[in-house]
């Protein structure tokens, strides 16, 4: 696929607020991107020229924000809307090998949707969530830079990340990766054996460390994971907030987030 053929949809809803940065990041790497309201995919109250299908696009992004005001649980209402109207399409989309990215609230949506950890390749969207993003141990909204160590070699979103540790900012109150109690080690083992753990929080020396380096108390310091096919990726930190150099205190060039967007475009070009 040529780069200018690639179309990216950033799904928005009432309460998402990072769609513009995400669209800008994708446009800056030379692909066509637009923010699409989720109802444009299924509602019949939409004008013809604004109706969309998931298969118009080659990559879907669930952006950060506070979809539906984080009522019930963060991401629960967004995922319920997606699941009721678009479940089959999303499953097909994943099976076709197209990538899906979830940033922050988007990660919460993918987890609530059952697309992550996504162990079953034949059923990429499970009936019930298999993990949870619980309230931070600090019980606060954690908003600051974090250091992440790249763990996965296969995830299509991090193939171009050459550095060992990258800096992305976090901004969330519910981001503590939690597995069913008593089965934590079993889940981590399974994730490790599939190479599904993508980023883990580390300190400035590159060692796995607790709070404040791990902002939320995540189990096994997990910051981001992908599914079994390595094409669906969710992470709590915001790569789009470290995309341009000026966002991270550099006069020119790009920040660490650039590699994430570049990697997925690279993957799509080869598809």
């Amino acid at each position: 696929m040529e780069r200018d053929e690639i179309r990216v949809a950033v799904l928005r809803m009432e309460g998402t607020n990072c769609e513009d940065e995400t669209v800008k990041a994708f446009r800056s790497v030379g692909v066509e991107a637009e923010s699409v309201h989720v109802k444009q995919f299924y509602s019949d109250m939409i004008r013809f020229e604004e109706q969309r299908s998931i298969f118009d696009y080659h990559c879907l992004v669930f952006p950060g924000g506070f979809s539906a005001g984080d009522y019930i649980r963060a991401g629960a209402i967004f995922s319920a809307r997606v699941k009721s109207a678009l479940r089959k399409d999303i499953e097909e989309f994943i099976k076709m090998g197209y990538p899906i990215l979830g940033i922050c609230n988007g990660f919460q949506v993918l987890v609530e949707l059952g697309a992550l950890p996504g162990f079953d390749e034949d059923r990429p969207v499970s009936d019930k969530p298999e993990m949870a993003l619980a309230i931070n141990d600090s019980s606060r909204f954690e908003c600051r830079p974090t250091l992440l160590k790249k763990e996965s070699k296969k995830c299509v979103f991090t193939r171009k990340v050459n550095k060992n540790t990258v800096m992305f900012p976090v901004a969330h109150a519910e981001g503590k990766v939690t597995f069913p109690s008593g089965k934590e080690d079993e889940y981590v083992e399974r994730l490790l054996s599939n190479d599904q753990i993508v980023f883990r929080y580390v300190d400035d020396k590159g060692n796995y460390a607790g709070y404040p380096w791990n902002p939320n108390g995540s189990y096994f310091n997990i910051a981001g994971i992908c599914n079994a096919t390595h094409t669906v990726f969710g992470l709590m930190p915001h790569p789009e907030r470290a995309f341009f150099g000026y966002q991270v205190g550099k006069r020119e060039g790009y920040g660490d987030g650039y590699c994430i967007f570049r990697s997925v475009i690279d993957y799509l070009e080869k598809l």
């Binding site: 649980r73 629960a76 319920a80 019930k128 969530p129 309230i135 019980s139």
Partner: protein
């Protein structure tokens, strides 16, 4: 002349068909019931919200407080034939949206 026009007119004979409809009236009453659905954290799951509240209460001088747990309640008005039927439906709601089974459990309390 007159005869001619008389016969050229189209006469439509309407057949009246009487339709007999049998209407069975089944008396099934649906009631509106009100349920309080409690969403709690499972045992062993950390509750930072409760702990922070406990800390703040202690600071305010309520030294006898031993534990605070955060619980979310949804009050649901539901129309159903029986409580069993409604409970089944509410359980489905909890599994699909209101609770995340990994960290939360739910219970239903009926309001009179």
């Amino acid at each position: 002349m007159i005869k001619n026009t008389f016969w050229s007119m189209n006469w439509i004979v309407e057949l009246q068909v009487f339709q007999y409809r049998l209407i069975f009236k089944v008396d099934v009453q649906e009631f509106i019931m009100i349920a309080d659905v409690y969403i709690e954290l499972k045992e062993g799951v950390a509750d930072p919200e409760g702990e922070a509240t406990l800390k703040a209460l202690r600071l305010l001088g309520f030294k006898r407080v031993k534990k605070v747990a955060s619980v979310k309640v949804f009050r649901i008005d539901i129309e159903a034939r029986s409580k069993e039927e409604a409970e089944k439906e509410i359980a489905e709601m909890c599994e699909k949206l209101l609770a995340n089974p990994v960290i939360q459990k739910y219970s239903i309390v009926w309001r009179e």
